[in-house]
């Protein structure tokens, strides 16, 4: 058992190798492919599970971070400086491995039913495995370099999976958008890494390692601030925070299991994870924390508002994810990475549950539009029950997991900045409202769907995920201990306020939407133009598209016209024309006139003579 921990880096290598094997095997042997692919997350889950057991079993005290195993080697040595690659398995990594492994496994099992009969399944499972490997790489990274490698590979996998149905133009466009928008953040991250590499004091330790991060910026608060902001930029992109959030709703073009894995539980959480790993940087940079707090709060509230007015079930969940990530960022900004990580873990459980549930609904009814669903409870009982568990967890209803983690988050934020805390209270109420709206519209009321059925291959994972969604909150102490943080007791004031608001939200939603989708018109009528504003998520997508993409295109068109066409083409063609003209002129010299030739020769001779004579002087 201990071997698993000592060779923890296999959690990266095994899924990676399986990805290659699956890719090579092709679509001919899909059941075998599926089975092989599933071994990857199982392995990661095993490593994480064993690691956790060791930490908790060894009686680690609260407040101490436990390191189980690590290793490092020089990757590139050049000019006196070296780049190291290494891994570390500590409590945080172990917990993340469990999360990633479990969710990835459930997604793969679910895909067996959901993606049955699709073309290109080998590609699907191969990329899913590759993604698992990349996420494991990020989680096990001991420094910025291996983390960045995993980060970028995940981005590529996200692109490949969003655009899985590549012949659908909207899917390809969404994949491109996701990649490009996160690229903006990644550019910041890379700059931050470079800055730390160049300006940080790395004497006596591995450069860019997380362990040595604190010492590297000791006494250089300016450096820490700039680097922290740049790293935050990368996190903002990956975790779809304002203003780099516009890619996530579009990413719903990908298959729903993909959305469950990547855009709910793991990849989008990578931003939060990275900030936690780089915490020594943020601890020394108040400005970065304040920025995170502000962005997180704005995102949490704004996305919650947008989720109110969506009619596509997946879009509701997408905005919900953005909003919940905002909660996590706010917690980070408030100086509590523990609260953020706790919420990350619970969110992974219930959000992936909700997405897979949506997948089951979509597969069963053939539609994503909630206005075409209704009364699914009768025909899809397991899905309904697990969905309700997930929704309640999201809404923060006690005693489900979300209640505990949200309490920790709001408490930490409220202490740091009461205004932000109040905003998060409001966002929680909206969360309860919008998810109940979705639940009521889809599962209750009058049946508007043609048919609906559920399949065991899909309901199985739903049940499995419902368990942690329900009870993970009670293991908060253990989880936080594994992180090496102190577990604070529940803050009763926050807990009661939040629960009360949640119940208000739930009740209001039930009251309004029991009539069915017609209620939307009534609400729209009451709110006026605000309703369409919400539905379009404040038009931020179009605004950013015009501002950034539009301006870039305009600039490049301008440069093309002015520089490329006139200057460069002009020069090139000008040279050509010039030489042709010169040739034509010189052709006139050959006119067949013997006297002309002789005259020219004579002129040359005279000139040469003159030069010779004058030079001789």
């Amino acid at each position: 058992m201990a071997l698993l921990v000592d060779y923890g880096w296999l959690a990266i290598a095994v899924p990676l190798g399986l990805a290659l094997i699956v890719a090579v095997l092709g679509s001919r042997a899909v059941p075998v492919t599926r089975f092989l692919a599933m071994l990857g997350p199982i392995f990661a889950l095993a490593v994480g599970g064993v690691g956790l057991a060791e930490i908790l079993g060894a009686g680690a005290r609260e407040g101490e971070a436990a390191m189980l195993a690590r290793g490092a080697f020089v990757w590139i040595a050049a000019g006196g400086r070296s780049i190291w690659l290494g891994w570390q398995l500590d409590g945080l990594a172990a917990v993340m491995l469990v999360v990633v492994g479990l969710v990835a496994l459930m997604v793969m099992v679910f895909s067996g039913g959901y993606m049955h009969g699709e073309r290109g399944l080998a590609r699907y499972y191969a990329v899913l495995s590759l993604f698992t490997a990349a996420m494991a790489a990020l989680v096990l990274a001991d420094g910025f370099i291996p983390a960045f490698i995993g980060w970028e590979v995940m981005g590529a996998c996200s692109y490949l999976l969003i655009g899985f149905w590549f012949d659908k133009p909207s899917a390809s466009a969404a994949a491109m958008k996701a990649f490009l928008v996160t690229r903006v953040g990644d550019a910041g991250l890379l700059l931050g890494i470079g800055l730390l590499w160049a300006q940080g004091h790395w004497a006596g330790q591995i450069p860019l390692s997380f362990a040595g991060l604190g010492a590297s910026v000791a006494g250089a608060s300016g450096l820490a601030a700039v680097a922290a902001l740049l790293v935050l930029a990368g996190a903002v992109g990956k975790s779809a925070q304002f203003p780099l959030h516009i890619w996530l709703p579009d990413a719903m073009e990908g298959p729903t299991p993909v959305s469950a894995l990547i855009h709910a539980a793991t990849m989008v959480a990578a931003g939060v994870f990275l900030v936690v790993r780089a915490w020594p940087l943020f601890a020394a940079a108040p400005v970065a924390r304040e920025t995170a707090l502000a962005l997180g709060t704005i995102t949490a509230l704004g996305a919650a508002f947008a989720a109110l007015a969506q009619s596509d079930l997946k879009k509701v969940l997408a905005y919900s994810t953005i909003s919940q990530l905002g909660f996590m960022f706010a917690a980070l900004g408030a100086g509590s990475p523990e609260a953020a990580m706790f919420h990350l873990v619970t969110h992974a459980a219930f959000k992936s549950l909700l997405f897979l549930g949506a997948g089951s609904v979509i597969h069963g009814t053939g539609t994503q539009d909630m206005r075409e669903m209704g009364a699914l409870a009768k025909r899809m009982p397991v899905t309904t029950v697990t969905w309700i568990v997930g929704s309640a967890a999201l809404a923060g209803i006690p005693p489900l997991a979300g209640f505990f983690s949200k309490d920790a988050v709001i408490h930490a934020v409220f202490v740091a900045q009461p205004l932000a805390g109040a905003a998060l209270f409001l966002a929680s109420m909206l969360t309860a409202f919008y998810i109940t709206r979705a639940t009521v519209l889809a599962f209750f009321g009058e049946p508007r769907a043609q048919h609906a059925h559920e399949a065991l291959s899909m309901t199985g994972p739903l049940v499995v995920l419902a368990i942690p969604a329900a009870v993970a909150g009670f293991f908060g102490v253990q989880i936080l201990t594994a992180f090496g943080a102190e577990a604070e007791p529940l803050n009763l004031m926050v807990a009661t306020t939040a629960s009360a608001l949640a119940l208000v939200g739930v009740a209001a939603a039930i009251a309004i939407y029991r009539r069915g989708p017609a209620a939307d018109e009534a609400v729209a009528g009451a709110l006026g133009s605000t309703w369409s504003l919400l539905g379009a998520a404040f038009h931020l997508d179009s605004i950013e598209r015009t501002a950034f993409a539009g301006s870039t295109v305009a600039v490049s068109k301008g440069v093309y016209e002015a520089l490329d066409r006139r200057v460069i083409d002009g020069a090139v063609e000008g040279v050509g024309n010039g030489i042709s003209g010169l040739g034509r002129w010189m052709a006139k010299l050959q006119n067949g006139d013997a006297q002309w030739y002789s005259a020219l020769v004579g002129a040359g001779v005279i000139a040469a003579l003159a030069v010779a004579l004058w030079a001789g002087r």
Binding site: Q595, W596, A599, A607, A610
Partner: protein, 164 residues
């Protein structure tokens, strides 16, 4: 002093003749110009007191070559289609060659040239005869061969040529 006047007079005639040759459009004027030039050359020879070559010049050129040219022109005028338009044209390279060469010559050879007053020596005939049949005998004989070749060549080129 009168020598200088004579010299420049001869020069004037020579130049007028040369200019005519180079520029005129009328064939007869061409011949006259050429004739004037050739005569002035003979005059120059006399000025330098080389009587023999002066006479030779008159006989050979004025009497022989010029008459030849005249005959040739008359035949050309008769045989040629259409009215012959003698013409010259301005050519920049040619002009620059001429001017350039002129400048070059006066620049290099000029300063070394003889002064007008230095002339006065009598080129003696006896000495000339001794040179021709003594030192330059081979050259003399070769010239004879050359003249023979010329004769034969001229006959070959222009004798019994097919008319169109």
């Amino acid at each position: 002093m009168s020598g200088i006047v004579v010299f420049w007079l001869l020069a004037a005639i020579a130049f007028v003749g040369a200019l005519t040759v180079v520029a005129t459009r009328d064939v007869m004027r061409l011949v006259l110009g050429l004739g004037a030039f050739l005569v002035s050359v003979a005059g120059f020879f006399l000025y330098f007191k080389m009587e023999f070559i002066a006479i030779a010049q008159v006989f050979v050129y004025v009497g022989g070559v010029l008459v030849l040219v005249l005959f040739a022109i008359m035949i050309v005028v008769r045989d040629e289609i259409g009215t012959p338009a003698l013409s010259s044209r301005f050519s920049l390279p040619a002009a620059s060659v001429s001017v350039g060469l002129f400048l070059l010559l006066i620049g290099t050879v000029g300063p070394e040239g003889p002064a007008l007053s230095a002339v006065g020596w009598q080129g003696g005939m006896p000495e000339l005869g001794r040179e021709l049949l003594g030192t330059y005998l081979p050259h003399f004989e070769a010239l004879g061969v050359l003249l023979l070749a010329t004769l034969v060549g001229v006959l070959a080129i222009s004798g019994k040529g097919e008319s169109r």
